[in-house]
Symmetry: C2
Subunit: 338 residues, 2 copies
């Protein structure tokens, strides 16, 4: 089958790879309906995170189960399923507490930018849709696999509640779906920080009430102006840099909540500053599995359309152009059709 | 009147100071029933935090209202009151959310190691007891002013709930009262980290079920052993150093809660490590005012005896010996009688 392989900075290639097979009795093999490129794939693509050897890439997926291992009991061949980037048993105490991405048996799913994929711990990891989805729902179901689930976790971890004021730092696909999630959770006011016109437009469509284009001190000052000098009750940090983290913490009011969902790159937090900010801080790899049943239901019933973040669709064979378009910010997010 | 003044490292003196007077119409003057020395006073006493000029010291107090400003309406002369180290209006949005130590009008209360004290924003800051307390309740009421309120906030911010497993890092008065607070909140298991026999004994008396004497990697390993390899659901960091913060975060399970209530000194948090720890992190200057009515009630009805942390009582004139005893860890906490 064809699959994307990252060789090094800005060198992603489509190659002939072996078909996946059942390795453990808890595995399933799925045929990909669609896959995509994640903002986090850009860190190694840009050489900021290192890959030591040619690595099959991609971790977002949805599709039809083709084969299951002998110990798989819940997932059945023929089902359309969505899963997350960490496979999880969904039965350990950490999973039961809703932190499936820290499951004691977790396994990273990799190589999803391909025609077929092996998913470990299939019963715990995969969630089936109510039936075979119409084609126009596939992008939104694919979004649930990571980027929507991550935006949703960001909003949840930032304690977004009815009527509250929310700031979203980052206008990538996760930030934009953080806006959508905050809207679904009843936020009264959603301030999106963005300088990019197309992204501002989508942010407004997803529920943003205010756009702040300033950054750094000016950005914080603008948020304070919009919140009676206090800062926001909830702030979603959806980038992962020192600047965005600082921006997020300083945009929250004392007693407020800051979530962070992008893998931090070179971020150091000063203990004293954090102490006197008085914020709640929570984040980490989003436990998408916790939210999948709810997110699939919202998508299935057409209450939300997170698939709108895909503003570029390419055949899998053109994966290299998909990375380039995101790297150059010509595309918010690239969907790949195997 | 007599009052303690810090001149520099290990140089605290008792001096004749001017009697406090009403400066603003929202002030009250109280006659101190008792005051004490805080663990946080030891940072400047040891020269780790700097004082630039001779500074009246102390911020823990309870006593009888002697005089009120013209705008004070709730607090009345003759009442016995307890207040916290930050005066707060208790009406701003931050106070209403329970973060009185970040009140938009907050003022630091200082110079409480003295016979009398001016308290700003008296109506918002001071809470009256149901009547004049018997003398044996005074130490516990004094503890409510800071050290108990801080331990209580630590337990609350670490989401201590019925039946949960709690770790307390730090066996100072705040850590010990964190144990007491966790017990009151129904914790099922309370692991106190302490190497000091007298403090271990008090920790057990306050509700600790396990004592861990190891520190660093060994301490973390011991906590993991006691928690099925997962770490604790709630961890209270009651010291404020890099080591104790790291110890606390590594002792919590993914999805768990870590609180920190000691002003951090030289603490830097690595963003990536924090991200993958998956913990909730919350702390800051404890909003003691939020808890004062409840804590006073528990003390008044003799449900808790936090005053037991005072294992040394001295006349105010011997304040220097009080600091020395705490600095050398001969005393957990020194109560001063004016």
């Amino acid at each position: 089958m064809q699959g994307a392989v990252l060789y090094g900075p800005r060198d992603v290639r489509i190659e002939q790879r072996n078909e996946p097979t059942i390795v453990k009795p808890t595995d399933a093999i799925i045929r990909m309906a669609a896959t995509c490129i994640c903002g986090s794939d850009l860190w190694p693509y840009r050489g900021i995170a290192r890959v030591d050897q040619p690595t099959p890439f991609g971790h977002e997926y949805c599709g039809v189960v083709e084969e299951i291992g002998s110990a798989v009991a819940k997932v059945k061949p023929g089902q359309f399923v969505v899963g997350s980037f960490f496979a999880s048993d969904n039965t350990c105490p950490i999973c039961k507490a809703g932190y499936q991405t820290s499951c004691v048996h977790r396994e990273l799913v990799g190589g999803a930018q391909a025609g077929r994929l092996r998913v470990p711990l299939a019963d715990g990891t995969l969630v089936a849709t109510p039936g075979m989805p119409p084609d126009d729902l596939v992008p939104s179901l694919l979004a649930a696999s990571d980027v929507l689930g991550t935006g949703w976790f960001a909003a949840d971890a930032a304690n977004v509640k009815h009527g509250k004021t929310v700031v979203v730092v980052g206008d990538g696909a996760v930030g934009l779906l953080g806006v959508l999630s905050a809207k679904q959770m009843g936020a009264g006011r959603i301030i999106a920080m963005s300088r990019h016109e197309a992204r501002q437009k989508l942010a407004r469509e997803f529920g943003a009430t205010d756009i702040v284009t300033e950054r750094g001190d000016e950005g914080v000052a603008r948020v304070k102006e919009l919140t009676e000098g206090l800062g926001a009750e909830s702030v979603l940090e959806c980038v992962g840099t020192q600047e965005s983290m600082s921006q997020a913490i300083r945009s929250a009011r004392p007693g407020g909540y800051v979530s962070y969902v992008g893998v931090p790159h070179g971020v150091q937090l000063d203990g004293t500053g954090l102490f006197f900010s008085h914020v709640h801080l929570h984040g980490g790899p989003a436990p998408v599995r916790r939210y999948l049943p709810q997110l699939i239901e919202l998508i299935w019933n057409r209450k939300i359309a997170p698939g709108k973040v895909f503003d570029l669709t390419l055949p899998l064979a053109q994966v290299a152009e998909g990375y380039r378009a995101m790297d150059e910010r010509r595309a918010i997010k690239t969907l790949l059709r195997p």
